[in-house]
Symmetry: C2
Subunit: 204 residues, 2 copies
């Protein structure tokens, strides 16, 4: 694609480097910005730069934060004995949106992936073990809420090995099963099999 202006070519090139945005979409976005008020572009550019340069990470859970300690870790009303381990900040947001969880988090920053060259030392795993093993640690349960992919399961397995020498800490994983509204006949065999083996007994 040839562009009538170097300025637009640059902008399209940069936009097209974002995940899921090809050159056609990038051009549409660039032309949208050109048609909109100048303020729109200025605000967008500033918001992106400000986010990237000023964001900090919580020193305890490594989640995104505006200060040294994130709002969840600083909240005394949350249950600090319960730590939910997730790979990404997106998972924190997703779990928070359920409104069902009152514990705190630990963000690994990814999952173990030999193909992408990500090993345990690239993730916040040591700090999780330290956090759980510290003498004054309040942690009593660690929930592994990691996506059940090949890499996710590897990470969860590695974590449970690293954490099994801590007798005071229970390890659990989020339940696997048929999603709400899901049809049994369309569920994959592994999920359906696990949902029977790990069935919930109804209270009487």
């Amino acid at each position: 694609m040839e562009f009538p202006s170097k300025l637009i070519e640059n902008a399209v090139g940069e936009l097209a480097r974002l995940p899921g945005i090809g050159r056609k979409t990038a051009l549409r976005l660039a032309l949208h910005l050109l048609k909109a008020e100048m303020d729109t572009t200025a605000t967008l550019a500033e918001a992106l730069a400000k986010m990237r340069f000023e964001i900090t990470y919580c020193k305890t859970c490594h989640s995104i934060s505006d200060s040294e300690e994130c709002g969840i870790c600083a909240n005394k009303l949350r249950d600090h004995s319960l730590v939910c381990v997730v790979s990404d900040v997106r998972d924190v947001i997703a779990i928070e949106n359920t409104g069902q969880y009152k514990g705190v988090y630990h963000v690994l920053g990814g999952v173990i992936s030999p193909i992408e060259g990500i090993g345990p030392s690239d993730l916040h795993i040591d700090s999780l073990v330290e956090r759980a093993a510290a003498e004054d640690s309040e942690v009593r349960e660690i929930i592994l809420a990691i996506s059940p992919t090949m890499e996710g399961d590897t990470t969860a397995f590695y974590l449970s090995r690293r954490l099994r020498d801590l007798p005071q800490v229970h390890i659990s994983t989020i339940a696997r099963g048929i999603p709400m509204g899901g049809e049994l006949e369309y569920a994959d065999e592994i999920t359906l099999g696990r949902s029977i083996v790990e069935r919930l007994r109804q209270a009487r």
Copy 2:
């Protein structure tokens, strides 16, 4: 969706104002930028701002340009007697990519749309008429290359009315018909009908 940081919330809000980008995609883009090098965000923000603030429009054809006259209008090798009228810069890029057109362009900046409140005076129509009617005008043919939608056809009709008093200028429209690789049986009736009425006689 609640965010753990105001900075991320702002960035997601601004990204989600772009067309075709919802809040989930915006969050994915923001987290991608956070994981990437700082340079990535800086370059993106700068490219967007530079494009918006420094872009100029060609004084002749109103296409996007880096200077007062765009590369196409300034090119002496192009046929300046042939003017292709399009609604948008995107159409210029699309036609240039075919490599089949050697004339020049005139970008209207939109189409007549009473619903969106866009009238003829909001478009670069007067300057097209002036360009074709000027005493020293080289223009001999004006090709209306406007999308065959309701608004596009209205605009084309309006243009041909405005231009019909210029005896030295021929008006043409791009051919309508079955697209290459298209199946006759799936073509809509209007297109198929027009492709028969306006059939091309083969050279012998």
